[in-house]
Symmetry: C2
Subunit: 695 residues, 2 copies
């Protein structure tokens, strides 16, 4: 993580200069200086304003050069047109870091982008790090540092939560929604256009801070995928939990995102993969981000998925059970002895799981105490979910006895996550939070939070260590044709059909006799990645005459539909029957190469549910990939069919993923489709393949 | 809707008796009487309590017979064991309706169920209607009527919302969650075990009330599907909006639901169908129910799906656009002239859609006014969604100017739905609600509410009018074998392959010669609905020798795997090649017959996404059904294939659905799989079929 070296001037500056500081502390141009003064920044603060002699009680400088002492960090809040000059002055003064609050750069188009590039070059030459432009800046509440035009207010109690956002407006949205749940963040940064520092730089910094447990991340795109992976992995290894909201999921949203922070939104599914692998919880809403952050800073994460549900209403229990089941929790029934106790306590209730103690708990709160104890004493559960409520409307409320019973159980059984779904006003809900329970008004939100906490606890899949043996020097470049791609696959250990290449149409008959009828005939050309679409593939050709017709038809079809195609020749292959057609591919995701598996052939068009992993994966993980897709139904031998060779398939996935890892610098994409999986013991055969490497 | 006749004694009683009334008004047994007294019930109220002479200041009766006047309605709150006697006394007294608050009946098992049946029989004989048992009762806030043990409080301002719930606990959950959003219901009823009155009875009643606009429904199952359909249809025709939460979606949840209100939870997918067809919004959470109810009683429903998004932050706009796109809103760009205005107002913002006016709107609220006007004057949108927020944490808030601008726009352009997603505290949010805006703190909830409102506005699909021509008398009974099922299909107009039935194995060769090789051979037996699983189907048999082997193999296979099968004979069919295999079926759902369409053959196992409709459907609707499933990809002729005969397919769907409607009294299930769809102009062929009718 060399990119965070030298961030000291930004994160712990000894002196700060403010370009464009104005007198009125309420004006947006006056706020940064006012904030610094209000926060009691201990080092020298310099104000730059060419048209005044003092600003907010400080001497005003016309230029950086006039300042005698060193300047660690500069806040630049002048118009876009003057920013270049300000950055130049900073560079000459050997300023270590600058925060560019100004907008009007790459997010507005080409002209702005050119200006941004000039600024970046000046900074790079002088070794100055830049935050922004087009950012609201940075606030470190934990260390009393404010580099922002957002109003500053010292907060007395902080939660170990940070927000790292590509948008200042979104950071505010998250911070304010959290504030309304009485959560105060320790650190907040918006990276804006990221002309230098990116979200990953701050994740790496926060991953090393003891006062941070949870990092909230708002992303629209990513410039350096490898840095993001490394920073998220560092955070994970240091026990920080990351909750991300990635926008630009829709086509329209992605377009709007591109225009507004000039970020390139990659394929959204790739972010799903990234977050899944790195144990990041992907939240859909800000409300969800805040719910989860609030809960997991309140209490430890669940140790597993075994959950017991206890309610005062059967229907409430059913509703919670529906949601918890769908979220993948293990709602095992209470052990018989515990059920016997519950039946005694609440004969009109339900004793299995969900447990229903009935609304009688309001008349006799001892029932709740005893019920909770009966469940918790079994030590069979990682989570206990209590669904309660009171007659708030009539002013009766949930009752202190119920609240106390739940809080006491939390204290007595601290190794279990206690979640409460309670229809009570927010202030009553917060009593539970303060006592270390996950608390929600709504049952669905309760389960959503628990599910997120469980995902975070499970932590994704550890990244593979670098391989011990050096990769062979394959020298792969550019687009391979089918024959070359299959040759490569055979080297990796994935066989292809018996086939003979015919450079000219006249050689095809001889080739077919060598292979033996029936044969498949395919055109070979680098110009035709989708040769089926132009009729470039003919299957199950029984004899010489049919073969001649097939060749003519292919040539005529390409002539009509893709006249500029350079035909390299023809491939004559043996026909392979009775196998399950799968798809196995590699993609360069920007976060490292990914391996993709799913149904292949024409089945892709009716079911494109695939499983993806960052490469490499081992055999065991390959098996999981197979099991995750609908292909498993065909491969396991349904409807009386013989099962397929999933062992060979798993080996092929693992081999190909290792290859991807070895070639990650040049790999663009590789696809085997169909990969024909035979009956057990007969292996896999790559019937067709394409591969593209960097030129 | 004859079942709601005679509900006057329950819904507008002139006199009420309370069985088991106790002196202490705070005790659960004292509450019903205390409520009646507190509500100022205008007619006579009689208390029954054998052990006292007065109860809560009233004379106490020992038995119903002692009461001189008529009793319209009785509240029975005695133990399960005494309920039978109480009901008997009511019947003798010619009481019109009784509310059975007591639990301990069918929900607890066989003994309770027997008791419940006895009660039901007594009531039926005397014409007395029953609510419950195992219910919290009924409260009509709108007419000051309380028949419940839940605490009563007169509410001064009511919202036109009713809750109809199978569970009293769940009704409380919904009511209380609504109360925390300052929504007060006009009517609340829990139907409990539904030994007589069901949810549909109350939906029918509420559908006719002018003080109700929105009906919230909590269901775990349904006793009379036809009544539910009729009541929901009545509600729809009368302009009432129904928001339903159906639980028991998970296997565990369904089991728990069955035990606690003794309702039978049908297949959950059938409820999706029911709600979709009848324009009911199915909510997932109570929070969602309340959000939607709150919004749509605040303001009219959107007239369409054209939505404009306007925010103070680009990222907020992207996030809203992602969600709105996914929810199916039409986010058309602003017309050029409006874009020009926006660019003038906010040169650093974005002008297409989402519109970003930047956070400058806080410094210059005129920007927001002008921006809103620019959008609304276009008359291009049914919905305008404003994403705003303020610095709540620092005590600055959203600012009155922003709030005012949004509210004024609402007043000036009342034909558009104004939605605001605002990160502000709840009390500020309610200012928007009171002014007639849909208001949410969270962007995702904002869009979720709008989507629900749009679904409700669209109102589902009108139910088909009864057919004008009488159905033919087909006299269908029991299970048909393949040959019989195909015969039936041919009558409906769905052809099957040329095929000859061979009653004995020896006749098979002759049959094949009649059909012409290659042939398919299938065993015919009512005992084998899944004949493929036991090797009962052999395809593509080329000659006599292969046919003999096929017959032997079928007989041997069945002998080994299903030895008790009665073989009716064999069907020898022509082979049909090169067609798309679909599935077309009928199901008796309990809500009427449904027609089901999707991919067929082995493709069902890898993609079982089907479309369903309540029968009958016309050709146009049949086309929609085809287009909704992945089958459309294969049928439209992808990858250079010729398109299939979707016209014939649509005709087959419509015919079959009409048949289902005609035979709805006896139809259990019918399935054509595969239904082979040929190239355009060549029609469809039912390759296999099963059918079951009531015996």
């Amino acid at each position: 993580m060399t990119s965070t070296d030298g961030l000291r001037p930004l994160l712990a500056p000894r002196s700060i200069a403010v370009f464009g500081a104005s007198e009125n502390p309420a004006k947006i141009s006056g706020v940064p200086l006012a904030n610094l003064l209000a926060s009691g920044f201990p080092g020298p603060v310099y104000a730059l304003n060419a048209s005044r002699s003092t600003v907010q009680g400080l001497r005003s400088y016309r230029k950086m050069a006039e300042i005698d002492g060193d300047v660690d960090c500069a806040i630049i809040a002048v118009g876009a047109a003057h920013t270049l000059d300000a950055v130049r002055q900073c560079a000459e003064k050997r300023v270590g870091a600058a925060v560019l609050l100004t907008s009007g750069f790459a997010e507005l188009g080409e002209e702005g982008a050119a200006l941004q590039t000039s600024i970046k070059e000046i900074a790079q030459k002088s070794g100055m790090r830049l935050l922004g432009p087009n950012t609201t800046g940075l606030i470190d509440y934990g260390r009393n540092l404010t580099l922002t035009f957002a109003p500053w207010k010292k907060l007395s109690v902080l939660d170990p939560i940070a927000i790292v956002s590509q948008s200042g407006g979104f950071a505010s949205y998250v911070e304010e929604m959290a504030a309304m749940r009485s959560a105060a963040f320790t650190f907040s940064v918006a990276t804006g256009n990221e002309c230098d520092l990116e979200c990953s730089d701050f994740i790496s910094v926060l991953a090393r801070r003891e006062d941070i447990k949870v990092i909230l991340l708002y992303l629209e795109g990513c410039r350096s995928g490898e840095n993001l992976v490394a920073s998220l992995d560092l955070a994970r290894r240091n026990g920080k939990r990351v909750i991300a909201l990635k926008s630009g999921t829709s086509e329209l949203g992605a377009r709007a995102a591109a225009s507004h922070t000039a970020a390139l939104s990659g394929s959204d599914a790739i972010y799903d993969l990234l977050f899944e692998e790195l144990g990041v919880h992907r939240a859909r809403s800000v409300e969800e981000m805040v719910d989860v952050a609030r809960a997991i800073t309140t209490c430890a994460l669940p140790a597993g998925r075994r959950a017991a549900i206890l309610t005062l209403s059967g229907a409430f229990g059913v509703h919670l059970a529906d949601e918890a089941s769908e979220a993948g929790f293990d709602l095992r029934p209470l052990p018989e002895t515990a059920q016997a106790i519950i039946k005694q306590i609440a004969p009109m209730g339900a004793a299995q799981n969900p447990v229903d103690l009935t609304a009688q708990i309001h008349n006799d709160p001892e029932m709740l105490k005893k019920g909770l104890a009966a469940i918790l004493e079994t030590q069979e559960y990682d989570i206990v979910i209590s669904g309660v409520g009171g007659n708030v409307k009539s002013g009766i409320g949930i009752g202190d006895a119920v609240t106390t019973a739940l809080i006491e159980a939390r204290q007595k059984y601290p190794n279990v996550v206690h979640a409460v779904s309670a229809w009570v006003p927010i202030d009553e809900l917060q009593k539970f939070e303060h006592a270390g329970l996950y608390a929600s008004q709504d049952a669905v939100r309760c389960i959503r939070t628990l599910r997120a906490a469980t995902t975070l606890a499970e932590g994704g899949r550890p990244l593979a260590p670098p391989p011990k043996i050096a990769a062979p020097e394959r020298g792969l470049r550019g687009t391979l044709n089918e024959q070359e791609a299959k040759h490569l696959l055979r080297e990796i250990g994935i066989p292809s059909p018996r086939e003979v290449f015919a450079a000219r149409a006249d050689d095809v008959v001889g080739a077919a006799e060598e292979v033996g009828y029936p044969v498949a005939l395919k055109v070979v050309s680098r110009d035709l990645p989708h040769k089926t679409d132009v009729g470039g593939v003919k299957l199950n050709i029984g004899d010489r005459e049919a073969l001649r017709l097939a060749v003519e038809s292919i040539i005529a079809g390409i002539g009509a539909q893709a006249p500029n195609t350079k035909i390299d020749g023809f491939l004559v292959s043996e026909m392979i029957f009775g196998r399950v057609e799968c798809l196995l591919g590699l993609q360069n995701t920007g976060f490292g190469p990914a391996v993709v598996f799913g149904l292949g052939g024409t089945l892709v068009d009716i079911n494109n549910v695939v499983s993806r992993r960052l490469a490499p994966v081992d055999i065991e993980e390959s098996r999981k990939m197979i099991a995750e897709t609908p292909a498993i139904k065909l491969l396991s031998g349904f409807r009386g069919q013989e099962p397929s060779d999933t062992d060979a398939l798993a080996r092929a996935i693992a081999s190909l993923s290792r290859f991807a890892w070895e070639e990650k610098r040049t790999l663009v994409t590789l696809e085997i489709n169909p990969l024909a999986v035979g009956k057990r013991g007969t292996g896999v055969i790559a019937l067709d393949a394409t591969a593209v490497f960097a030129v």
